[in-house]
Symmetry: C2
């Protein structure tokens, strides 16, 4: 693992690192924020998964999560959203290929050689960061934005017991029934719906649920509401009797101005679960 940069931030350190990923068969870059408390011992971890077109950098610089994480004494990890490189397949559509890994393990060509973002975020990267940073891996939580909200929810419910709390900003909530979901997951996972059902947040809420606090924020002026399908997730939460807070935030759109406006609430919810 190579250090790209380390920068002081809110009394802690915002670092960027690069390593060779065996899951994705390419070099991967990720960011870690460590609060001041990490100097004297392991700290809890909040994962932030990002959306379409993003790298590790967008949320690191625009979400404004470091202030609250420093206050709460928890680490933040910002993975990239897909494998990258000249040898990695891509697509002209920004919702497919590089920058659009959808947090699944692709089984279909030409994607299956590199697009293993589920394994990367669920297995490889946790092992790597646990080895290199003072993290208490018994205390993990996860959040994300848009495609990363989909990732946060599907990982949280797909790995029971791993995460103490889950939240999402404007998540892709119903990939089985959306232009952001059907074409991409069919390309990555094939036409059989069974494989894709495990990557639909609304299906998972209704069929499995999540054992811990859940917070969903969605802006009412989000320009992608027709693709995100928050109504499916809200209905699933209600049908499941899933303990959750689902908020439609008046006037907010899909941008990081929305994320940063509510990030403190999310970090506070996770911090309470992580320190419990």
């Amino acid at each position: 693992m190579e250090t790209v940069s380390e920068t002081a931030s809110f009394g802690g350190v915002q670092g960027v690192y690069r390593h060779r990923s065996s899951a994705c068969a390419c070099d991967m870059t990720f960011a870690v924020f460590l609060p001041e408390e990490a100097r004297s011992g392991p700290v809890p971890v909040l994962w932030f998964l990002s959306g379409l077109t993003c790298t590790h950098e967008n949320a690191m610089t625009k979400a404004g999560a470091q202030a609250a994480a420093a206050e709460a004494g928890i680490a933040l990890i910002f993975p990239d959203t897909s494998p990258r490189g000249e040898d990695v397949p891509n697509d002209d559509d920004f919702a497919m290929g590089q920058g659009a890994g959808f947090y699944v393990d692709a089984t279909q060509g030409p994607w299956s050689e590199h697009f293993k973002m589920w394994s990367y975020v669920a297995d490889e990267l946790p092992e790597l960061v646990a080895q290199h940073f003072p993290l208490d891996m018994e205390r993990q939580a996860i959040t994300g934005h848009s495609m990363g909200g989909h990732g946060a929810l599907t990982l949280a419910m797909g790995l029971p017991g791993r995460f103490r709390s889950v939240s999402a900003f404007a998540p892709m909530a119903n990939t089985l029934d959306s232009d952001w979901g059907v074409p991409q997951l069919t390309a990555y996972l094939g036409a059989d719906e069974a494989a894709r059902r495990r990557h639909d947040a609304s299906v998972l809420v209704e069929e499995r649920g999540f054992d811990g606090p859940m917070l969903i924020d969605q802006g009412t002026e989000d320009q992608f509401l027709d693709k995100l399908k928050p109504e499916a997730l809200a209905a699933a939460i209600a049908r499941r009797r899933q303990p959750a807070t689902f908020r439609m935030q008046k006037g907010y759109d899909h941008s990081y101005f929305f994320v940063s406006s509510f990030i403190d609430d999310h970090v506070a919810m996770h911090a309470e679960a992580l320190w419990a």
Copy 2:
């Protein structure tokens, strides 16, 4: 004036606007954050001037100033750092030309036709925003980063009575004695030192001072310390007996991770002066 975008942020609105600047003889883009209180009446104003290579966008997305401004009920204005466009002179050096206006009115060719950032920030843009937004122009304060810190300090001292408080993050503090200052201001203003003395923050502190609170933050690990010359400003503050807080922040570099770590302190200081 044309609206480029308006986005909900912390209960208020983060807008981006474009207009034809007569001072700079080109189209100029700027950003305004209005807190929720602006819906019911005029609010005080905090100007944020940015550094080399920046547009209106960098601080708007990375400084994290909106949270504290919303809390304090004050507006933020983020001007661009220079005239721009194909017809506007430029230079291969990132510290000269487009993105590097240095907040002066150039008198030397080829710069003098467009590079009038002093007049733009001191006169034209205030008139424009006062006309279009609910701003209390009797309550203004100013801050900035790097070249923008130089701008904030020189404007605050060059326009006595205009700003109630001034602050700066890692300002270019002594342009008469720096590679960030001498070449650029000589090109813009000519070889005569008299014109350039009015654009040196340390000279101004020592010769004029500022009637109001002043806060300076500077990181100890700033990669540009040799160009910024904070020691000149600190010495001038001491010699002048200028009321000021000058902080060397251990471990911080020149990035927006430094700015965002301390922006709340700056906004709080300005808010106190603005609401007094």
